[in-house]
Assembly symmetry: C2
DNA sequence: GATACTAAGTGTGGCAATTACACGAAAGGC
DNA sequence: GCCTTTCGTGTAATTGCCACACTTAGTATC
């Protein structure tokens, strides 16, 4: 035990709730625990913070180690610190949430030892520790934030159709949105760039592909623009 | 050094940004550091988290110990974890922000040893560590949240006039608000209870005193009501 | 190659919410 | 009793939001 301190210190971990979106469902990436406590049960990916890395670095590192996912939108969610949230000892966890398009993140291709899988948010498995609470908080944050921050794009591939974007909002907010009003509002903002391309290999009229123009968005925000869906 | 661990652990602290409101200014409570590093400079009140108390308990305890303030609105803000934010060793800090009416929280009456004082947010002193960053984040959160959560009341005494409430919003949001529209909107929500009393000892027509009715508000929220100013 | 299917793409009118705006009433000070 | 200060109130114009349906384009099927 080479590390000794005058006063007892809580262990510090990061946890990372990863959301992806499917045709019909919001999904969350979970890993199956190999060891006690809660061996065999599912949990949010995470692990200990090293003393020489920032919290966000730790979250990204653990995320990649445990699920193979990297280069995603990541934002701090909340820090969970109930005294008894881990039965072994005092553990404080800084939770993050990540948004990714699950196309291109085939879990089984990247994760070998650990068992990782996507679950529909509507039917999560029983979770270890206080992870159900963390998941709930992450979903609440996503629902709340998606309406006034342009993060819905993070759940889609780089280029997407307006219908796909609308589906993202419908799924996250769990309500139907009028097609014409949605397109009008989003296009009027001027934060989407028409790529000039259209969908390929679809059995119907191909839709235009758009890209989120972060440069323009940032510039507009500085001039007082306020995103809202 | 009775506490030893297999791996190095960051120290874990809480910091607490306390806002109060004045006739004309948003103010923040700071304490003057007695010891190095940054001795003599000002800092946000805070301290170490004990292993047997929750994060929020720690924040409330430190707040009372260092400033005498208790029973206030308190909410977690963000966790700051840059590797070099403390020159001595790795310290991760869970920041909270608190809202209070500074009438009735006369600093000097409660704090003896430590030097604590209110500062106008527009003219803060030079701050220790990364506390300027924390303060900025807290102010941003307050500005953002005050518009869609009924937390403006927390900066006022229990009973207040509509003009006082309007001033709170004007000061926090830093813009003028139309008096008639403001009153119309707030009263239409039905979350204020007219106490029947009026101001005393004012050299002009006395205004009605209202109280925020949290019961009614909570009930309305469950029915889908959405506060917005 | 004609027909059927699927999703893309587009405009208007009604209603609700937001904004701008000014003056008489009440209270205490002098 | 007159002055000063703040309280408290309504309306009209504008804007933003929402509901709503048909034509076009591309593939697949027969």
């Amino acid at each position: 035990m080479p590390f000794a301190y005058e006063f007892a210190r809580p262990a510090l971990t990061v946890d990372c709730v990863v959301f992806g979106i499917d045709e019909d469902d919001l999904r969350v990436m979970l890993i199956q625990r190999g060891i006690e406590p809660f061996a065999g049960m599912w949990a949010i990916p995470g692990g200990f913070v090293r003393v020489d890395e920032s919290l966000e670095d730790a979250a990204r590192r653990e995320l990649e180690e445990e699920t193979g996912i990297r280069d995603v939108f990541l934002e701090q969610l909340f820090t969970f610190g109930r005294v008894d949230r881990d039965p072994r000892e005092r553990v404080v966890s800084v939770a993050y949430y990540a948004l990714t398009n699950l196309i291109g993140h085939d879990v089984h291709a990247r994760t070998d030892a650990t068992n990782a899988a996507w679950f529909a948010l509507s039917e999560p498995p029983e979770l270890s520790f206080d992870h159900a609470e963390i998941l709930e908080a992450a979903y609440a944050r996503l629902r709340g934030k998606v309406r006034y921050q342009p993060i819905g794009f993070e759940l889609l591939p780089d280029r997407f159709t307006l219908t796909q974007l609308q589906r993202v909002y419908e799924i996250v907010l769990d309500r139907e949105i009028d097609k014409r009003n949605f397109r009008k509002k989003i296009l009027a903002m001027g934060i989407l760039k028409d790529t000039g391309d259209v969908q390929k290999d679809v059995a119907h009229r191909a839709a235009r592909l758009y890209r989120f123009d972060k440069r323009v968005y940032d510039r507009m925000v500085r001039k007082g623009f306020h995103f809202e869906v």
